[in-house]
Symmetry: C2
Subunit: 126 residues, 2 copies
DNA sequence: TTACTAATGCAATTCTGTTGCAAAAATATG
DNA sequence: CATATTTTTGCAACAGAATTGCATTAGTAA
């Protein structure tokens, strides 16, 4: 996979995502960037970042798409099989990196990707 | 929670979902019903069915929302913590009821719901 | 049968994400 | 350093999914 170019938008978007404690939606990123670049650009940059494994995507049970930085990921190995916690009250999504669920599918299934989201109430809202 | 009324639309939608081996999206249901009722009605009925725990909702990593009947669910206990398999090729979503992932969150999190989706290639497409 | 309340259909709207294309920016080449 | 090449961007238009308000219709309880 060819690396994409380093543009100002890309750099800025990476830092917005990395600086955030919780996963961010497209519109949240757009708001933080506050007109710095176009909506469409954000979508396209996010796509690239996902391809380059710098960012991973999370979809909550109510259909909201969020993006979070990849920690614990070397360029060789990627560990996105951690749990994401989606708070029903404050609507934040947090990566719980230390929790990797175990499961065993029949081997006739070929697994490429996992998306584990648990919803409920987060410590802040309890 | 008050039970919703039994309408023809509701009955029909339940049977469409129950008869299907795979989870169905709103538009698939709409297509099967073939003009029997309005798109909006389908959305509203699905909401009610979810509230009444007759149906559960699945969101795939590419943001597609699907609905599946609840099996193995008594009126007291609900077991939706099985894995869903989303095939990248035929785009079907299947409940793998026999596989319950195990995970352990810090107890400061209050869990209400789980959504585990694994994507890859299903046996049919392999 | 009637009265009450929930459910439906329709139109309009909002929100999220995508596409095509010309202009601008990043990188590679001489 | 200048120029050629290719990617990225912004804009406008579009597409699809889901929601809302409101008048009408259908279920249900009395």
């Amino acid at each position: 996979m060819k690396k994409s170019r380093n543009t100002i938008s890309k750099t800025k978007i990476i830092s917005v995502i990395t600086d955030s404690k919780t996963a961010l939606s497209h519109s949240e990123i757009h708001e933080i960037l506050d007109g710095f670049c176009d909506r469409v650009t954000i979508y396209r940059v996010l796509d690239r970042l996902i391809n380059e494994d710098l960012v991973h995507k999370i979809v909550t049970i109510d259909g909201v798409v969020k993006y979070a930085a990849c920690h614990n990921c070397s360029s060789v190995e990627h560990h996105h099989n951690h749990i994401h916690f989606s708070c029903e009250q404050c609507h934040t999504v947090t990566c719980i990196e230390e929790v990797a669920p175990s499961f065993k599918l029949p081997k006739k299934y070929k697994v490429h990707n996992v998306n584990f989201t648990v919803s409920g109430v987060c410590p802040n809202c309890l």
